[in-house]
Structure formats: C-alpha cells, structure tokens
Symmetry: C2
Subunit: 140 residues, 2 copies
DNA sequence: GGCTATTTGCTTGTATGCAAGTAAAATCCC
DNA sequence: GGGATTTTACTTGCATACAAGCAAATAGCC
C-alpha cells in the first residue's frame, strides 16, 4: 500500500469486481440466476455439450466450485448432465430448452449492461483498461 | 458479451480480481492470514481503535462478513474487541502487539507485491487503469 | 497384458460476500 | 419525558472460491 491501504491494487481490483458483480446481479436476478450462474449459462450458449473439465477451463472455475453451480443450474432446470459414451469418467453439460431461452436473454442483457456499466469510461480508455485486466488475469 | 462471453466486463473484472487475490495470498499466507484478513490488518495499522461500522465502511465490507473476519483475527490473536465507553452499542477494534507486528510486515510486503504484480504494465498505463478501477468501484 | 500415472467429477472443510432479520442501545421528535 | 426511529454488531442461510483428497476410469509404458 503506498500511502494508504486504499491504494493497494489487490484492494482496488477486488472492489471494482465486487461492484461489477453487484451491477450484473441486479440486471439478471429477475431471471432467477446469480451472477456466476448467468455467466456459466452464457458460456454454455456459446459452446454446448461440453465436459465439466472443459467448461471449468473456459469459465476459469475450480471443479469443486463448478460442481455446486451445475447442481443449482440443474435444480433450476436450465442444465442437464448427460453421460459421455466416449469416456465414462466425464459428463456432458447440456442446456435444456429453458436454459437456452434464459441464456439467450442473458446474452441480450449483457450487451446493454456492459455498455451502461462502462458509460462513464471514455471509449479510448476502455480498450486499454480491458487489455490490462486480461493481462493481469493471465499473469502466472 | 460482444463476440464471446470472455469479452464481458464483469467476467474480465472478476478473473483479474481473482488473479490478484491468488497473488496477494501467495505473498502473505506464510503469516497465517488470508488475503482479506491481511487487508483488514493493513487498514487497522492505518487507523486503530475504530468501531466495526467505521472499519466496515473503510474496507467496504458488509457487517456480516466483517464479524466473521474479526472472529478469526481475534482467534489468531491479532485483534481484540474492546468496549466503547462512549457508546455501548459499538465496539473498538484494536490491534494486539502481535497484530501490529504482522500488520507492519504486511504493509512492507504490499509495496513489493503491488510493484511485481503490475510489472508488465507500463507506468503510464497503470495510473489510468487504477483510476478506472476506482471509478467503477464507486459507480453507484 | 498388466502395472502405474493421470484425468475426471465429486465431497469436505474453511473463508469470504451478501440478503434478511434480531436485540440492545442511542437518537429524534413531539 | 417518552414513544418511534435509527444505529450497531451479530446471527442465519445461501452462493461462490479454493485446498485437499477420493474413487472410478482412462492413458502410458514396459
């Protein structure tokens, strides 16, 4: 922390991310899903019938965490676990029809939500900001 | 999400913050504290003998969350809850001698950790990046 | 073929976050 | 002065995160 603890990058990152989760949650909670559940549905809409391991790599979620999230998405009726005939260890995560509908709506909402969350950030700063985020996320 | 879910700002923020927490954790875990516990100790080193409410405002932590964190810091012997003679509802959070030692060490580590976490980010980009983080964190 | 190492999804235990609600104490307002 | 409102710290319940470890299944290697 330079002069104050508030200057610590880990604090600043955590609080900005929390603000993002709060905002994103407020935009999709009426669909009955949480922020993370909504992101997982969006990833599944982009690539369906994937193994839990592959989905976890894509969403960058621990297998322990993902198991719980899939449990809840399955209980909500948005997702189903299917057997993988090619590999009896793995499962194939599939969106249900309901899941597909909700996922499409989430993707629609996300466009507007991204824009309005960043409305006070000049366009030319946004590109740099996002690229730093991605660089830091990869960073190790 | 523009073309891909990975482009969603809420996803990018969350993953960058997670990487930050992982890095920060790896730097201070030998002291026996978690990432958040370490930040709370740093805030207490900056301002000791504060009420839980005031500390919560400063660290931007929910009172429910802070209660648990203080429980664990107290169990570790780094913090003590004292009565506030001026207001019997509130408590004064105080660093113990051990807590002060650890907090000083954490602050020392944080300088190097901030620098090395951001080592691939050009200086001129860092200022803009941090200012956007702070703006988004306040944003509502 | 058969033994070993790896992969896969899961469980358990701990630590945040946050919504909702509580009891005690202080404050407001007439 | 005293009732209504607000503040304070806490509790409960749920949803991530992640370390550690498990059993079943597959892949690698001799």
């Amino acid at each position: 922390m330079l002069k104050k603890p508030e200057d610590c990058i880990f604090f600043q990152l955590a609080k900005a991310a929390q603000a993002g989760v709060r905002y994103w949650t407020s935009r999709i909670s009426h669909l009955g899903v949480t922020a993370v559940q909504g992101l997982v549905l969006a990833f599944l809409a982009d690539q369906d019938r994937v193994s839990s391991a592959r989905l976890g790599q894509r969403v960058q979620l621990d297998s322990a965490t993902l198991t719980g999230i899939l449990d809840r998405l399955e209980r909500l009726g948005f997702v189903k676990r299917h057997k993988n005939p090619k590999d009896r260890r793995s499962i194939l995560i599939c969106l249900t029809d309901d899941g597909k509908r909700v996922a499409r709506e989430i993707i629609r909402i996300s466009r507007e939500a991204n824009e309005s969350f960043l409305k006070d950030i000049p366009e030319e700063d946004e590109f740099l900001f996002r690229s730093v985020l991605v660089r830091l996320a990869q960073g190790e």
